[in-house]
């Protein structure tokens, strides 16, 4: 599986200023391939998350294209893009994205039930939660979890369907050293198993697990 972005940039409107917009991501190319873990590091506000969201099909680029195995994802209809995202992309967002009315286990299972009528993979979900140290809280509601636990739950949820592409936005933010290692090791393992993994982070630790390290500064990507 290959995710390629060609000449993508992102402008955001800026009200009340002399310029009508500012460019969060300058035109750039990036290619994520199977079996490789890429880390994009940079300071807060450097455009990392904007880049990740464009790659995830959640934020339409102002220019350029994003292709998954040759398919321009922004040329797809909302339904087709959503199904593609569900089937092939595992996104670990930045904030707390738990559904408060579901248990931790059910939250983890959500991607598997959106389109499938088959029984959700309870054992896989429980195993993933166990690997991330959440086995004992799988039946709790998200409100009972700490920020670090919620983050690890997001990781488990993104990995549940073994997507071909994993996009992680600050997956280790707020985690202690032990859990940081746990999460990064797991992502590395998924890359080794054939997934394309992209981690955007402002922490240095992830670099140790990367096949390729990129830096983002002022919306510009450099090696």
């Amino acid at each position: 599986m290959k995710l390629t972005a060609s000449g993508i940039k992102k402008d955001f409107p800026r009200a009340g200023k002399t310029s009508n917009f500012f460019t969060a991501v300058q035109p750039l190319d990036i290619e994520l391939s199977s079996g490789r873990l890429t880390v994009v590091s940079g300071r807060s506000g450097s455009g990392k998350s904007t880049l990740l969201n464009m790659l995830a099909g959640l934020l339409t680029p102002s220019a350029g294209s994003v292709c998954l195995d040759g398919t321009d994802i922004y040329a797809l209809s909302d339904g087709a893009l959503s199904r593609l995202r569900n089937a092939s992309l595992g996104l670990i967002p930045q904030g707390n994205t738990a559904l408060n009315s579901l248990s931790v286990l059910e939250n983890t299972l959500l991607p598997s039930v959106l389109y499938s009528k088959c029984a959700p993979p309870y054992e896989t979900a429980a195993s993933l939660l166990g690997q991330l140290g959440l086995g004992s809280v799988k039946d709790e509601k998200p409100s009972a979890l700490s920020g670090g636990e919620l983050r690890r739950m997001s990781v488990a949820r993104a990995l549940l369907t073994r997507p071909g592409v994993i996009l992680a936005d600050e997956p280790t933010a707020g985690l202690d050293d032990e859990n940081t290692l746990l999460v990064l090791s797991l992502l590395r393992r998924y890359a080794d198993d054939g997934a394309c993994v992209l981690i955007v982070t402002h922490e240095d630790e992830a670099g140790r697990f990367a096949d390729e390290q990129l830096t983002m500064n002022g919306g510009m990507l450099s090696r």
Binding site: L58, S82, P93, N96, L99, N100, S101, A119
Partner: protein, 404 residues
């Protein structure tokens, strides 16, 4: 098993206080609409039933009975009473132009004492000339001809023993041969019989020293005369003619007798309309507002679902199902509660408001319930639109970055 289909209900349970508020407002709205429609329908039904059961265009009573008989309230909350006039009046009425038929009735009130089953209005009709009571006897299901000491009771009259169907007045036993359908009026607490039975009961009453008219002549006394007017004649004009030509009588038209109930119906209708407006618009507004609050509060959850690959159709289906489920649940609760309250206390409420009350048949009640669900459906539609607006404006990428 977790599924997208179950998500809306899980969400409603997860946000219990907000969901309860939506259900409460939907319930209040539907309760007001269903209660209002049912009450108005029952009062109107009562009026129509009484109008049909009255069967006469004019009722003539002795003028001296004014203290005991108020034509405008007699059908609603009449205190059992009796009064008499000479039966000569019957022929005089028949001779008046425009009178098609005239039939006498004889009244007696039973006593609130051990000699009687209950204090009730006893009404005797003349089977040979009657046109107001007999048409309804067929509906009671009785095939037995009414003989001496046979009675047919109004719907709200109960008798001590259903097995032997006997009711007792002035220590005399009468056989209950039928029971009329409810009219929601004072007619429901009356007991009907022929003249011979009534005269026998008057004799029994007199022998017990409880009869107040010493000069009563059983063969020459009647209490009222019911008149049917010929086609093409105005009942009010004929009633005026009766009052003018026959001294000592009062003649009141059916419209006059029903005017009290009709006024009551108008008041009830106005009050119900005001009540429905008072509950419906604010209830609708609040239900939509609370739902919009709830969706707005969960924007990030919708963004998370989007990130997992849920398309807009799935998000819309979740929001619309939640809106429908909450509002329909509230609507059903409101309808059931107001229905039960009205069935239990409708008669009491109507009595206080001086109107008749007959609940419509079950089929009509179900149709009314369906109509009363419309505000809940409207609230669900408005809530869904509000939710879809919020969801369509939701920038998943931006929301997923918030609260980092």
């Amino acid at each position: 098993m977790l599924s997208v289909r179950k998500l809306p209900l899980r969400n409603l349970r997860g946000y219990a206080s907000r969901s309860a508020a939506i259900i409460l407002f939907a319930a209040l709205t539907s309760a007001a609409v269903f209660g209002g429609l049912l009450l108005t329908g029952a009062v109107r039904g009562g009026l129509e039933t009484v109008r049909a059961r009255l069967g006469a265009d004019i009722m003539v009573t002795p003028e001296s009975a004014k203290n005991e008989f108020d034509a405008q309230t007699a059908l609603i909350k009449a205190e059992p009473g009796y009064f008499y006039m000479d039966s000569d009046v019957l022929e005089q009425i028949r001779s008046i132009e425009g009178v098609a038929a005239a039939s006498p009735q004889l009244f007696l009130a039973s006593a609130k004492a051990g000699c009687c089953s209950a204090r009730l209005q006893l009404i005797a009709f003349d089977p040979a000339t009657d046109f107001t009571v007999q048409p309804w006897i067929a509906d009671t299901g009785t095939t037995r001809e009414m003989g001496l000491m046979d009675v047919i009771i109004g719907s709200s009259v109960s008798w001590p023993s259903a097995d032997n169907a006997v009711i007792r007045f002035y220590d005399s036993e009468c056989s209950v041969i039928g029971q009329f359908a409810p009219t929601g009026s004072a007619l429901d607490s009356a007991v009907y019989m022929n003249f011979d039975t009534c005269r026998a009961l008057i004799d029994a009453c007199r022998s017990m020293g409880l009869f107040k008219y010493a000069d009563f002549d059983g063969d020459r006394s009647v209490s009222s005369v019911l008149v049917r007017v010929k086609e093409g004649y105005d009942a009010e004009s004929v009633a005026s003619e009766i009052r003018a030509r026959i001294g000592g009588v009062s003649a009141v038209t059916a419209a006059g007798m029903l005017s009290g109930i009709a006024d009551g119906l108008r008041h009830v209708s106005s009050a119900v309309k005001a009540l429905m407006l008072a509950f419906w618009l604010p209830g609708l507004f609040m239900a939509v507002l609370f739902f919009a609050f709830m969706i707005n509060e969960r924007k990030k959850e919708f963004a998370a679902l989007r990130a997992m690959g849920a398309d807009r159709r799935i998000l819309s289906r979740i929001a619309v199902t939640e809106a429908l489920a909450a509002n329909l649940a509230g609507g059903l609760i409101g309808i059931i509660v107001s229905g039960v309250l009205l069935c239990a206390f409708g008669g009491l409420i109507a009595g206080r408001m001086n109107v008749t009350f007959v609940l419509p048949p079950l089929g009509k009640m179900l149709l009314t319930a369906l109509a009363a669900l419309l505000p809940a459906v409207l609230a669900a539609a408005c809530s869904s639109l509000a939710a879809l607006g919020i969801i369509s404006r939701t920038d998943a990428a931006l929301l997923l970055k918030e609260g980092e």
